[in-house]
């Protein structure tokens, strides 16, 4: 079955433990506001001492110089910050980085290895001219990548025909693509081209 464990089931993950607090012999608790956190980003491990308040999006952009993921709304409402965590698309603006210790993160920069050709989705976005300003594009591409694997794993959507048997791959029609990418807004309104680009890749 495709049900995955919680985030961070990779071997990199540290032993589950009380990360932020030292318990003293007298039983008193001393609060900590930082923790050492290891993130495997685009295949490379990074160990950072992070303020607990920091979200993954800010760590990627400010500490790791990966500015592909964008900050549109900072509240889960636009999808510009979409990246993949342990292979699943998520809004990096709402994920506390410390909670992802040991997880694998893939950003738009990591879709291909150094020096490689573009990823087929990137190629299709170029071929279809599926953007104007490009601000939403990294999020659109990461979201499309996640959506394609969800459909292949048999995840239904709001518009999935009930006659598609449970647990079987869902074919991605235009309506399916539009619904599954609804978490990614495009202020330039490039939606028709974005749907065409994704359709090119799944066909």
């Amino acid at each position: 079955m495709w049900i995955r464990g919680p985030y961070g089931t990779s071997p990199l993950r540290k032993g589950i433990h009380d990360m932020g607090t030292d318990i003293h012999a007298d039983g008193g608790l001393s609060r900590r506001h930082h923790s050492e956190t290891t993130l495997q980003v685009n295949g490379k491990p990074h160990t950072l001492t992070l303020d607990h308040r920091r979200v993954l999006l800010d760590v990627l952009r400010e500490d790791l110089d990966l500015c592909g993921a964008k900050k549109g709304c900072d509240h889960g409402q636009c999808g510009a910050c979409t990246v993949l965590v342990d292979g699943r698309r998520v809004n990096s603006c709402l994920l506390l980085a410390v909670s992802l210790d040991g997880c694998e993160v893939t950003t738009v920069e990591g879709l291909t290895a150094d020096g490689e050709e573009l990823h087929p989705l990137q190629r299709a976005f170029l071929d279809r001219d599926a953007f104007q300003c490009g601000y939403c594009t990294p999020g659109q591409i990461c979201s499309a990548l996640g959506a394609i694997s969800e459909a292949a794993e048999g995840h239904p959507s709001h518009v999935t025909d009930p006659s598609v048997p449970s647990g079987r791959p869902v074919p991605l029609s235009r309506d399916e693509i539009r619904e599954r990418l609804s978490g990614n807004l495009c202020r330039c309104g490039a939606y028709p081209r974005i749907a065409e680009a994704v359709e090119d890749v799944v066909r």
Partner: protein, 330 residues
């Protein structure tokens, strides 16, 4: 955002102890609501107890034909479970009608139940709100309240509960499993959320420090025709203006079983007991459905700008009831 301590517990017991030892602690699920509210300054926890690595991500078939879903099962996985799609389709449909693919991948079953209202005054710390700051007043009652409650509201608060999933759980007679330092208990999903009364700060029956460990979908509604329908301002990625979940069984030409719940009309999923009572034993005709739904919605007390919700909810309910009984009506 205020600084906070962070604890990753290895067991449910340890999590509850860590919470009890830290005044001002909050549990962290997917964080899609809590982190948002922390950024807005609405939540200012002194510590977060992270539940996401607890072994609460299992889905178990129980011997009596019910299904137990762990509190850390992500919304997208819940909606995709063949057992849920085939036997409790209203639940899968409700989850898929909410939020976005990205948010459902992060959001947990427990966190979805406990998400806070989307009332804009609640989310804005510069505005009065009895739910966020008891005694400060209710900005919405005479203010912007197009999305607010038409049923069961109080002088203190007119907010709605935003979850789609919770509406399906209420209609399907699901149960919520809780763990606290005093032990475990179960609450019917339909009774888990409260009406605001004079304590709008309390959304649910959960006690301080308790953990939602899972939900149980009962055999009594398994395999019965069920569906969820939601009306919203855009076709996707928007909260409900009104919604309905229903499960209906027709036997020998009469309704033998009915569970109906409305969403986005009240401070909790609104279980339509009056409508159900009127339907059971009646033939599944248009007249019977209209009579039953009108009986329920007669209790509505719309605010200045949200009377539209009553006919909208009525139309949704009639559509769902008609579709669910189509084969028995011909």
């Amino acid at each position: 955002m205020k600084t906070f301590d962070y604890v990753r517990a290895a067991s449910v017991e340890e999590a509850a102890e860590a919470y009890a030892a830290r005044p001002g602690a909050r549990y962290l699920g997917g964080g899609t609501n809590l982190v948002d509210l922390m950024k807005l300054g609405v939540e200012r926890p002194a510590a977060l107890v992270d539940l996401t690595r607890l072994p609460l991500d299992a889905v178990e078939e129980l011997p009596d034909g019910s299904l137990r879903v762990g509190a850390m099962v992500r919304n997208s996985d819940l909606a995709a479970l063949p057992a849920v799609r085939d036997r409790w389709p209203a639940l899968s449909q409700a989850v898929l009608a909410g939020a976005s693919g990205q948010l459902r991948n992060a959001a947990t079953t427990g966190g979805n139940l406990l998400q806070r209202t989307r009332c804009p005054y609640f989310q804005d710390v510069t505005k009065p709100c009895n739910k966020r700051e008891p005694g400060s007043g209710c900005g919405a009652r005479e203010g912007v309240h197009r999305d607010h409650a038409v049923l069961g509201h109080s002088a203190q608060c007119v907010a709605t509960h935003p979850s789609d999933m919770a509406v399906a759980l209420a209609a399907l007679d699901a149960r919520v499993e809780l763990y606290g330092v005093e032990g475990t208990r179960e609450v019917a999903a339909a009774d888990f959320h409260r009406l605001p009364g004079d304590r709008p700060d309390l959304d649910t029956e959960i006690r301080p420090g308790e953990i939602v460990t899972g939900v149980v979908l009962p055999a009594s509604t398994a395999g019965r025709p069920s569906a969820y329908r939601k009306a919203r301002d855009r076709a996707s990625y928007a909260f409900a203006l009104a919604s309905v979940a229903a499960v209906v069984r027709v036997e020998s030409g009469v309704v033998a079983q009915a569970g109906i719940a409305f969403g986005a009309l009240a401070h909790r999923p609104w279980r339509a007991r009056r409508a159900e009572g009127a339907l059971v034993g009646a033939a599944p005709t248009d007249d019977a459905f209209e009579h039953a739904v009108d009986l329920e919605l007669a209790a509505a007390e719309p605010l200045r700008d949200n009377a539209y919700k009553v006919p909208l909810a009525r139309a949704l309910a009639l559509d769902v009831l008609t579709r669910l009984t189509a084969s028995a009506r011909t």
